[in-house]
C-alpha cells in the first residue's frame, strides 16, 4: 500500500481542487498528441489531427481530455487504494483499448508540464515531487492488469 505524507496528501487534494478540469484535461491530451505524435495511433476516429492547430481545436480531443481528468479524479478521491479503484480501468486500457503502457508516462509528463505552466512559481520542487509520486502510482495501477 502506498504511504502518503500529510504534505503529499494535502498537495494533491489542493491541486485538484483548484485546476479547471475543462482546461487542463484538453491541454494535456492535445500537448501529448502534438509532442509525441505516435500517440495519435489510438485516436483514429477523432478526425483532423494533421497539425498542432488542428489538434488543439479538435472537439473530440477536448472531450476526451476531460474524460481522462475525470478518471484521475477517481484516484484523487481514493488515494489510499488507487490500485483497486483502477482495476477496471486497467483492464479496459489493456484488453479493449490496447494502449502500450509506456504511453501513460508520456501523458503524465505532459500533464505535469501543463500544471507547471498554470502554477508557475507555486509549482515548487516539493509540490512537483508530490505530483510526480501521485502520477507514478496512477501509472503503476493502470499497468497492473496488463498480462
Amino acid at each position: 500500500m502506498v504511504k502518503w505524507t500529510d504534505f503529499e496528501r494535502a498537495t494533491i487534494q489542493d491541486i485538484f481542487s483548484k485546476i479547471d478540469y475543462d482546461v487542463v484535461g484538453p491541454a494535456a491530451l492535445s500537448r501529448c498528441l502534438i509532442v509525441y505524435p505516435w500517440t495519435q495511433r489510438y485516436f483514429g476516429g477523432f478526425g483532423n489531427l494533421y497539425n498542432a492547430a488542428a489538434i488543439t481545436s479538435n472537439p473530440k480531443v477536448a472531450a476526451h481530455g476531460k474524460v481522462v481528468l475525470a478518471g484521475l479524479e477517481k484516484a484523487v478521491k481514493n488515494m489510499d487504494d488507487i490500485k483497486t479503484t483502477y482495476k477496471e480501468l486497467s483492464v479496459l486500457h489493456s484488453e479493449k483499448l490496447q494502449v502500450d503502457p509506456d504511453n501513460f508516462n508520456l501523458l503524465a509528463d505532459c500533464l505535469t508540464i501543463v500544471l507547471a505552466g498554470q502554477m508557475g512559481a507555486a509549482f515548487t520542487p516539493e509540490v512537483h515531487a508530490a505530483f510526480q509520486k501521485f502520477l507514478a502510482v496512477v501509472v503503476a495501477s493502470l499497468r497492473k492488469q496488463y498480462h
Partner: protein, 144 residues
C-alpha cells in the same frame, strides 16, 4: 532517435534568445528540482555538502549545465561533432547513466513551462524536447 528539421532548429534558436538571460537560474531550478523529484539522481552528487534547491553547489552546477546547453544551441547543425569533448567527459570521467539525460531534460522543460507559461506552446515544447533528446544522444556517443 531523431533529426532536427530546419523548423525545429529555428524554433529552438528563437526560444533560446528568450531563455538566454535566465539560463543560469533555469538550470539551477531544473537541477535542484530533479534532485528532489528523482532522488536516485542524488547518487551522482554525494560529494556535495548541500543538495537542496537553491544551495550554492546546485546553483553553480545548474549554470554549468545550461552553459553546455547554450553551447549545443550554437552547434545545433552538428551536435555529435560539437559535443565530442563533453561526450568524452560524461562517458569516461563522470559515467552518468544516459537514462538520466532524459530525466534532466524533463525537468528543464518543466522549468521552461513555469518560467514562460505563454511562450512554451506545444510547438515550442516538441522542438525543445527533440533538441534535448538530440543533445542527450550526442552526449552518449562516446559511451561504447
Amino acid at each position: 532517435m531523431t533529426t532536427l528539421t530546419p523548423k525545429d532548429k529555428d524554433t529552438v534558436k528563437t526560444f533560446w534568445a528568450k531563455i538566454s538571460p535566465k539560463a543560469a537560474a533555469i538550470g539551477a531550478d531544473a537541477l535542484g528540482r530533479m534532485l528532489v523529484v528523482y532522488p536516485q539522481t542524488k547518487t551522482y552528487f554525494a560529494h556535495w555538502k548541500d543538495l537542496s534547491p537553491g544551495s550554492a553547489p546546485v546553483k553553480k552546477h545548474g549554470a554549468t549545465v545550461m552553459g553546455g546547453v547554450a553551447d549545443a544551441v550554437g552547434k545545433i547543425d552538428d551536435l555529435t561533432a560539437g559535443l565530442l569533448n563533453l561526450s568524452e567527459l560524461h562517458a569516461f570521467t563522470l559515467r552518468v547513466d544516459p537514462a538520466n539525460f532524459k530525466i534532466l531534460a524533463h525537468n528543464i522543460l518543466v522549468v521552461l513551462a513555469t518560467t514562460f507559461p505563454n511562450d512554451f506552446t506545444p510547438e515550442v515544447h516538441v522542438a525543445m524536447d527533440k533538441f534535448l533528446a538530440a543533445v542527450a544522444l550526442a552526449l552518449s556517443e562516446k559511451y561504447r
